[in-house]
Amino acid sequence: MILLKEVLSKYPKEQEYLIEILLEYQTSKKNHYISAEDVASIAKYLDIPESQVCSVISFYTMLSMKPKGKFVIQVCHDVPCFVNDSTSIYDKLAELLGIQDGETTKDGLFTLEITECIGRCNESPVMRVNDSVYVSLTPAKVEKIIQKLRGDAK
């Protein structure tokens, strides 16, 4: 985990860099979220009101003030994936993890989300796990991926 100070020191003190700062810091955090204390430090650094930082976080779906799992799984459910049976992918994940869209497993390992197009429609159905994209999925493939992620977490 990187300290917020280290992230901030890379950027000029201008609001232009707010989203870049938030994304970089959030990605580095285990629970992929920006805490109230983080908001206060970032606002102070950029010399803008905390409310402005919060309004940016709440506007953009990739940013969150709620802790998420170690692995954030996002299943695409737009038309190109839907017509290639993305429903079966989501159902398999929900069954394996015992959670629904927007929820996090009790062990804090996985968050499941339905997401918008990730631009890999030529290899649909697809999902993202943190920054990695998995393509041409089948329920069997999904099972293996989850097994592997569980193993990686140990």
């Binding site: 201008e14 609001q15 232009e16 860099y17 707010l18 989203i19 870049e20 938030l22 994304l23 402005q52 309004s55 940016v56 506007f59 953009y60 779906t61 990739m62 940013l63 459910h77 737009d78 038309v79 190109p80 839907f82 017509v83 290639n84 918008e116 197009c117 990730i118 631009g119 890999r120 429609c121 030529n122 290899e123 649909s124 993202r128 920054d131 994209v133």
Partner: protein, 414 residues
């Protein structure tokens, strides 16, 4: 030969992370030629090429370029790589396979317009493309193609990469500008247009990734030669993102004027399991739904204008007869409920009501009055929304009311 590889010519032939492999395949030749020409002559070539924006709307590029060039003082050039329209992956493909082509196009345009700073705004989901573009900028700086005194001319230009953070509306130009300023991506009222007042209220020119990748070709072959490709109203080639229920999903490059049917059946090898086509969605979630009998339509901005939408992105989503019209409409409309920025009422409230009405049809509870309501509301949203999101989101509803009216009528309770 249906395909014509101009923009995709280097795909797979070069190592995208090696500037030398780009240079060895005619890379930065367009820039070198451009720097020997007077800036106004470059804009003349762009006008002669008759190129229109590849982001979807198909606006004549030279008008924006000339408008920016006439502005004095600081100005910006932005490459819009916020490719969030479902069914599109052509911009990502360019960034990942031939990243220097985009940078070269931006430098040419900066020289032509006098801009000294550029941004590439890439959607946050495209992590790989972001990494590649950051490395690309660095490599170009090391070769003195970016920075101060480019190729020893008295011309300076810098590019910064900006990441989106999961907001579809930021592909809209003013939302994108707000986002670059570090704010929520909520659009502004036009006019003034971005070429008058954009980032930090300075003149800003925004073009799509594919548009920028075309500039080196226009300079190298000359505007008139470029205009011979395609059709009189739509010149050059178009990248097509083909997806859905086709055998060979993928990215294809064809000259404008190619028929949609040829793309689906000759390049995509037809529908999987030889099923029938129920409908095809053009452009993405904000594009029209058309029936099988309209597939002989050619890929051409003038034809697309009939739909009043961003059809020109070049996405073709094939949907076979296992699927119901309302499945597709509901996904599209829920998408817009989520993506509306909430600034204007028609878009913020309208999409919610459209979803409610669609659910009535799906549950066979709709009446003739609901059919009238959905038609009226769709037109209100389209005509009164502040930005391109609400102005185009209703295209699938409006087109399906025209071409799939029986599907609606079969669900109406009398």
């Amino acid at each position: 030969m249906i395909q014509m590889k101009m923009i995709t010519n280097r795909f797979g032939k070069i190592n995208p992370l090696s500037i030398d492999s780009y240079i060895n395949l005619d890379g930065y030749k367009g820039l070198k030629k451009a720097l020997s020409i007077h800036p106004t002559k470059i804009i003349d070539e762009i006008e002669k090429s008759k190129i229109r924006g590849r982001g979807g709307a198909g606006f004549p590029t030279h008008i924006k370029v000339r408008a920016l060039s006439k502005q004095l003082g600081g100005k910006f050039i932005v490459c819009n790589a916020d490719e969030g329209e479902p069914g599109n992956f052509k911009d990502r493909s360019i960034l990942e396979n031939d990243p220097h082509a985009v940078v070269e196009g931006m430098i040419i345009l900066a020289y032509a317009t006098g801009a000294s700073k550029g941004y590439i705004y890439i959607r946050g989901e495209y992590q790989n493309a972001i990494k590649i573009m950051k490395a690309t900028i660095k490599a170009a700086e090391e070769k003195k193609l970016l920075g101060d005194k480019i190729l020893n001319k008295s011309f300076s230009f810098k590019i910064e990469i900006r990441s989106g953070a999961g907001s579809y509306v930021c592909g809209e130009e003013f939302s994108l500008i707000e986002s670059i300023e570090g704010k929520p991506g909520r659009s502004r009222t036009k006019p003034p247009f971005p070429t008058e007042k954009g980032i930090h209220d300075l003149p800003t020119l925004i073009n799509n990734v594919e548009t920028f990748a075309n500039f080196p070709h226009i300079i190298l072959m000359g505007g008139e030669e470029f205009a011979k490709i395609g059709t009189p109203s739509s010149t050059g080639t178009k990248l097509i993102s083909l997806s859905g229920n086709v055998k060979n999903k993928g990215l294809y490059e064809v000259p404008f004027g190619t028929s949609i049917r040829d793309v689906i059946f000759k390049l995509g090898k037809g529908v999987k399991n030889n099923r029938k086509i129920k409908m095809v969605q053009l452009g993405g979630a904000s594009g029209p739904l058309i029936p099988e009998y309209m597939l002989d339509m050619s890929i051409d901005f003038d034809r697309f204008e009939n739909f009043d939408s961003k059809t020109g992105t070049g996405a073709i989503i094939v949907i076979d007869d296992r699927f119901d019209l309302f499945d597709v409409l509901l996904i599209n409309m829920k998408f817009f409920v989520h993506q509306s920025c909430g600034k204007c009422a028609p878009c913020r409230e309208g999409h919610v009501q459209i979803v409610n009405l669609l659910n009535k049809f799906i549950n066979h509870r709709a009446t003739e009055k609901d059919l009238m309501s959905i038609e009226n509301l769709a037109n209100v949203i389209q005509q009164t929304s502040l930005c391109g999101l609400g102005q185009t989101s209703m295209t699938s509803i409006i087109s399906s009311l025209r071409y799939f009216r029986d599907d609606y009528l079969s669900k109406v309770r009398y």
